[in-house]
Subunit: 177 residues, 2 copies
């Protein structure tokens, strides 16, 4: 056990499940891929997500007071990379990625048909952290595929993962088997 | 894509990395295993953890204003199950599990020598959510094994995981390979 810089230790903390924050407000909508999400209450069911204030989706979540947390599978690795490298201020990420949207039951943002699972969330609280905002969302509806596949994760190079897409910043993959 | 109850969808969201919140205050210390953790700031580096107020460790974190987030590997699956099923009010979890502690550099709680990695965290904020508290911790020091092994996760029954320990509540495992 030795002391290291925080970044070096963080790089060890794989796998990290990827989720898309999907938000729609005032005629605009976007998708922001996140690695920093967690559950934060069982009753009522709540999730917490960390979103950088500079993100276009951040303003949409604030405006709408709601978001969908959509979990991509391996087929959406390229779409995840695209959504993570472009801004919703410049491109329509739904057109850019070609994903199919379905109306959500209880929030304005759409559900993504190709995702493994979707959680409809109403924002019940928000907190500033260092360089991000934590949005706490109560899960008001939940969706999943009939035969849900594996979740896309940020992974390392070990043999237990199938790397689906790797660039200079990220390595996306799924657990093998 | 079909609507399901939230619990059914949550069960699909695997893998979930396990971390121990380790805290020490006023001569008492304990270990609380968590599945609900995330990063929440890059600069300064911060993590957020969700801890139920009923947990003994919750009070220790509040008292100390600090915690260590320690990441167990496969060898600590039984220790994780033990720490999750007993209360630190009744047992000394360090004696019970036999883990080796090292003094942390910047917080009162100890670092766990057998863990894959340890993050020393100073609490910079706390928020109540539904039935949990989010503690936001600035990472003030970080540790890792010389040859870090795989992280213990909550897993499902798919072939890509080696199940290390399963009981009626939890299935702990690691990614194969």
């Amino acid at each position: 056990m030795k002391e290291l810089d925080v970044g070096a230790v963080w790089r060890l903390l794989k796998p990290e499940v990827v989720a898309w924050a999907v938000a729609e407000h005032d005629g605009q909508r976007s998708i922001c891929p996140l690695g920093w999400t967690m559950r934060t209450s069982a009753t009522p069911p709540m999730v917490a997500i960390s979103v950088a204030p500079s993100r276009f989706t951040h303003g949409l979540i604030e405006g709408a007071g709601a978001f969908v947390l959509a979990y991509p599978g391996r087929e959406l690795a390229q779409a995840t990379a695209t959504c993570g490298s472009r801004s919703g201020r410049e491109v329509d990420k739904f057109a850019e990625t070609g994903v199919t949207t379905l109306p959500a039951l209880r929030v304005a943002a759409p559900v993504v048909a190709e995702c493994v699972a979707n959680l409809e969330c109403r924002v019940v609280d928000r907190f500033a952290t260092g360089d991000h905002t934590i949005f706490v969302g109560e899960v008001v509806a939940a969706w999943a595929q009939d035969e849900p596949g594996k979740l896309l994760c940020l992974v390392d190079e070990s043999a237990g993962y199938e790397t689906v897409l790797a660039d200079e910043r990220f390595r996306f993959g799924v657990v093998r088997g």
